[in-house]
Symmetry: C2
Subunit: 394 residues, 2 copies
């Protein structure tokens, strides 16, 4: 039985209504928010209607299980604080559509907290054994809420962890979240590997004081320490960065954050990504050394948060070949092989089984943004390539 | 009748109990908070017990009025987000003690929002005519609450604005909030002039995007724009700064402020202070030019908030002479003339009448901080100098 493109798109728009931001097609559905939990309850019902056995695990990962051995398809349904309607959702709804249209055994998953409210791809990290549950429970979000408290809000739904041995492999359809396919007018990207990521919160503690009476030379200004750290890092990274290496300071929190006070403390995130683990390690050394230097020079106390991260992962050749055959069948001459600069749950799942991924274009390369979007023709093309691969594999 | 030092200290500690932070002698009593309004009700009762006529004005400034012409003494009783127990409170309680112990006509004031939740010394700025009420009503705090909404929470207490013509002058006792008196082992500082201040919020809007898939050279990273602005400002200010010039970036707000997202927007405060209005003006030019440059270079849209500020003010010679005589009588050889690097309500009140100020030491120069403190002997010395001057003047 063929996939139903209309039903697929309708479900995709229905999922967007949970946490719809009111700005374009934007979505505000962070992990464990009311909107996120409501969306998972709705997904669970759709899975049951598709004849799948629903199981939530202790961290809120939602599975729709087929009888016996099966391929696992899916992604995540939580969003960034200001997210788009396709990031994660596309892979989950495509999996649902294939599970209910295909006569091959297909299971569906929506992982929890892929967007890292607490860590990095927290739900699949715990399920895959990459992170122990008690370690995850100690993680806190930027508001200081512990992961243990957040997942407890879904305790009424929780069953045990799902046995991974029933799955023959995992395939994730996702938007590219970058400019390549859109600018090259390609419709499909078959992923070769997923880059590795490192993520750490650093805190400088100086001296909070009056911004009018404290002479410049006597200050221990936490913001100025961050500015010096950032400038020195930029300089030292230059000769180490490859074409695809990226680093970001995306979160900054000053204390007390008032215009008349010399900031006494700053906590900020530093995140870096590359496909070469050795380069990730060299960058980590530079970051730690530079932070120590700046703290010493400016009379600050330094504390580094737990470093979260995942190593680069290559896609499984057999699954990848099936996706390439599907791409050539559905979008002949309009697909390419490419790496993933974004992190995905597939990185964790690779610890348990063979994994592969395919991309559809992101208009303007925009993602993690209310403006994120993709042509619906491309969404359906991605669905058909995935279905084609499943019919060949399962 | 002489001042009662024990009663003065007891009232000072009682005032601290409104919004006591639980950390040392810290206080959390921002303008219009529950604790601030409760403290003002308590102060109003103490003023009545002292035989003063209580009047709140439309912005929450609290006056205790003597019969006929009088000297006005006081300061403010609101605190910083994380403040100390003496900043403002000392001047209000000292004024209360002198009003009830002296047989000279003395009125007492506690101005509202001196700490600038909304602007800069908002309450005295409006009362003095430095800022029109409708302009003040349009100001918002960092959470977006309008001043009009905040002052409405005290509407039940509000009378009309107090006629300033009944006051012969204004004298404010305050902690130094700097290191000079403490390090020089002086007990009293008689203020010569108050430095001027400028304060502005600047916003850079770039492009929010995915921190893994957006190449470094294609980013419009708002945090990196702030870092460049800060570095360039530091360089350009060097040849313009005098010994006492200070500038501070104390407030920073990134959007969306998440580690996996290239920040699309940053709003931050830039505040600068000096005793020379011309220098303040030159610094403003550099700030505006540099912000324009950085925005242009990095493809950002730039918006500057309303600039708030006050010009430097010299103290009145006659009031100052009375304070110097009092200082010599109470702390012979242990007092000095000095400028005020901190802004005070006296700056606004100077538009209406002669003003003067005196300082007592801040231990370690620490203020705008839970750790702010002063030896109680020095607090009482300040009270006695103020009383001495009042007996001579009133």
């Amino acid at each position: 039985m063929a996939v139903n493109a209309a039903r697929f798109l309708e479900d995709l728009h229905t999922l967007r209504s949970f946490g719809a931001s009111g700005v374009g097609k934007g979505v505000v559905r962070p992990a464990y928010s009311k909107a996120d939990i409501a969306a998972r309850r709705w997904l669970a019902n759709r899975m049951e209607e598709a004849g799948l056995r629903v199981q939530f695990d202790p961290v809120g990962n939602l599975f729709g299980l087929a009888e016996g051995p099966s391929l696992l398809l899916g992604s995540h349904s939580d969003s960034q604080p200001q997210g788009g309607w396709l990031d994660g959702s596309l892979g989950v709804i495509a999996a649902l559509e294939i599970a209910r249209s295909s006569n091959r055994p297909v299971s569906v998953v929506s992982f929890q907290d892929e967007e890292g409210r607490f860590g990095v791809t927290t739900g699949s990290a715990v399920w895959s054994g990459h992170m122990r549950l008690n370690r995850a429970d100690a993680l806190t979000d930027l508001a200081g809420v512990p992961f243990a408290t957040a997942r407890a809000t879904m305790a009424d739904l929780a069953g045990g962890f799902v046995d991974a041995s029933q799955f023959t492999g995992f395939v994730e359809l996702h938007i590219e979240q970058g400019p390549v396919l859109d600018s090259e007018r390609d419709q499909i990207g078959v992923v070769t590997d997923i880059v590795g990521i490192r993520d750490m919160v650093i805190t400088f503690e100086g001296q909070q004081n009056h911004a009018g009476t404290t002479p410049m030379h006597l200050r221990h200004d936490a913001f100025q320490a961050l500015a010096t750290f950032n400038a020195r890092l930029e300089k030292r990274f230059q000769k180490h960065l490859a074409r695809r290496t990226v680093w970001t300071i995306g979160y900054v929190s000053l204390l007390p954050n008032a215009s008349s006070i010399v900031p006494g403390r700053v906590s900020f995130s530093i995140q870096w990504r590359d496909s070469d683990p050795a380069r990730l390690g060299r960058m980590e050394k530079i970051i730690r050394t530079t932070a120590k230097e700046v703290a010493a020079e400016r009379g600050m106390t330094l504390s580094n948060g737990m470093m979260l991260g995942l190593d680069p992962v290559a896609m499984d050749p057999a699954l990848r070949a099936a996706l390439e055959a599907g791409a050539e069948a559905v979008a002949p001459g309009r697909w390419r092989r490419m790496p993933s600069g974004a992190l995905h749950d597939a990185t964790n799942v690779a610890r348990l089984m063979p994994v592969a991924m395919l991309f559809v274009p992101s208009i303007g390369g925009i993602s993690h943004n209310f403006a994120e979007d993709t042509d619906e023709e491309d969404l359906v093309a991605g669905l058909r390539v995935l279905d084609h691969a499943v019919q060949e594999l399962a």
